[in-house]
């Protein structure tokens, strides 16, 4: 109960949660609103918003319904954001946990590896990966995961190192528990809060990355996404501003919602750290 109370005290976080729920619902009911999907031509191209009834956001360069594209784009953004974050956690958490817990050359090796990946400009690496693996939902998600895990590994390592120094971990060793049981039963549960906070912010970053890749034309050609909509409208910005404006707004709101939720989670889960901005 007190978790919700602390979360709800951050009004921005509640706003973010409402916003995100709205985006999730829109993504879920997309097929019900626009059963024909985002691709078919519905009117002549370049219709301004509200120029024709039933097309509140107008049509794009090929006469497609911008609103339909926006609604279907929500699906991709959320899906890619969520799955790539889970994948990044699956790489980063075990690596960081093992490095922090066992220390020594394992730590040394894991951290050099992590540092290497952090040195590589991550958006450039994502571009190269998607370009070489051929653009598809899978390659995009995978690439985002591959460039997003290093901060997780570092965070988990630092948390595990700090928790491992606590005396109750020593006590567990003296109780004769195995290393694995100590790591899984005593150490990791006490590192969960900061990981949850980071994960919520990672989903936001992943959505930005996905949209940037799609903007450059590296999106899955079979899937409508916000980044693709903006990228396709880039050259006609002078004549049809709404084509890039609305998808961009959708991205800003979704990412903002996730960031606000992340801050709220931080306040609620780490009361002693609250009010410290995380970046």
């Amino acid at each position: 109960m007190s978790f919700w109370k602390r979360f709800a005290r951050n009004r921005g976080a509640v706003f973010g949660l409402v916003l995100l729920l709205a985006v999730i619902i829109i993504a879920l009911i997309a097929p019900m609103i626009y059963p024909r999907g985002p691709w078919p031509m519905v009117q002549r191209p370049f219709l301004a918003p509200y120029a024709v009834d039933g097309l509140p956001l107008g049509t794009d360069t090929l006469g497609r319904n911008v609103a339909a594209g926006l609604v279907y784009g929500a699906q991709v953004s959320l899906l890619v954001g969520l799955i790539s974050t889970v994948m990044a956690l699956l790489i980063g958490v075990p690596l960081g946990a093992v490095a922090g817990f066992y220390g020594g050359w394992l730590d040394e090796g894991a951290m050099r590896f992590t540092e290497f990946f952090q040195t590589i400009p991550n958006f450039a690496l994502a571009i190269v990966l998607v370009a070489i693996l051929e653009p598809s939902l899978t390659s995009i998600t995978l690439s985002i995961a591959i460039v997003s895990w290093p901060p997780v590994a570092r965070l988990v390592r630092a948390e595990v190192m700090s928790v491992s120094k606590r005396e109750y971990v020593d006590a567990a060793r003296l109780a004769g528990l195995s290393n694995l049981r100590i790591l899984v039963g005593q150490v990791l549960p006490n590192t969960v809060s900061p990981i949850i906070v980071m994960a919520s912010l990672m989903v936001a970053t992943a959505i930005l990355l996905e949209s940037s890749l799609s903007f450059l034309g590296l999106g899955d050609p079979n899937i409508m996404s916000w980044g693709y909509q903006i990228g396709a409208a880039r050259t006609v910005i002078r004549s049809a501003w709404w084509l890039s404006f609305f998808p961009g707004l959708a991205i800003v709101l979704t990412v903002l919602a996730l960031n606000l939720i992340g801050e709220g989670l931080n306040d609620a889960l780490n009361p002693h750290l609250s009010r410290k901005g995380r970046t």
Binding site: G12, F116, Q118, T119, I120, P121, N122, F123, A124, L125, A126, I127, V128, L129, A131, I132, L133, E134, A204, L208, S211, S212, F215, L216, G217, L218, G227, I230, R234, I237, R238, W241, S244, F245, G248, I251, V252, L253, V255, L256, N259, L260, R275, K276, G277, R278, T279
Partner: protein
Amino acid sequence: MTIVGPVLGRLFKAVLTLLAIAILNFFLIHAAPGDPAAVLAGEAGAADEQMIADLRAQFGLDQPFYIQLGTYVGNVLTLDLGYSFRQGAPVLDLILDRLPATLILTLTAFGISLTLGIMLGVAASARVGKPADSLLTGFALIFYATPLYWAALMAVLVFSVQLGWLPGFGYETVGADYTGLQRVGDILSHLVLPALTLGLFFMAVYMRMTRASMLEVAQQDFVKTARAKGLSPSVIRRRHILRNALLPVVTLAGLQAGQLIGGAVLTETVFAWPGIGRLMFESLAARDYNTILGVFLVSAAMVILFNIVTDIVYGLIDPRIRHTA
């Protein structure tokens, strides 16, 4: 003596990192679907049998795997980044031609975002909880959520298309043939929008970090000591809090260098800024893998350079690094 050892160590590590990236590139070429030679030739070479045969010979693609690796890494280390068949020029030449534009853009954006970010972060922390603070942190949150390329497009729309204040396209006015100061002014006016929109996101990052760090340091014991001495609040903030608060910001700035250089691909694409980011975008459409990988390698080298610089800056601020090294 104190500064030479760490810098040497840093350079040694930098070379190792570049080597590792070269190896990564090699594996990426082989991970691409299809014949590596065809991959290297890109779209342009796909039809030309002779060219592919030449490539095979050049990269030793008929040799065992480890020799191929050796050849490739050797080439990279001698700065031979291959040939772009699409553009009809060596990749290194293409990159060197475009590099100055990217350096101007990223360094300007970095300078602006760091300076403004720190200043605004300090301002917000000094008014914590007050309307000015809420306003600043609110803006930072929004910038933090805004895609770089969209901010760029909207800036073009408003400041170039609607208001006509600033050019929204290119590096300098084509055909104007300015010289001297006039040319510098022309380039600067072209630089404003790209640098600002690229820097906006990072400014938000540095501002949030500075604010949080200032507030945290303000809680520390030595700040109480400073107050007990009877120092004025402004001196305490400048001399005691800010210097200590900058340390994590500098670390973060180093870590973010990669993001900044990656972000340049998007900004250069929107503004048709003739840098290596734009080169990468053009090569994507042409499936010119050799050039893409070359740009990737060079941008990684830039990040390493940024990191060395931030390490040195950190050492200048923090005596503990200087004296124990």
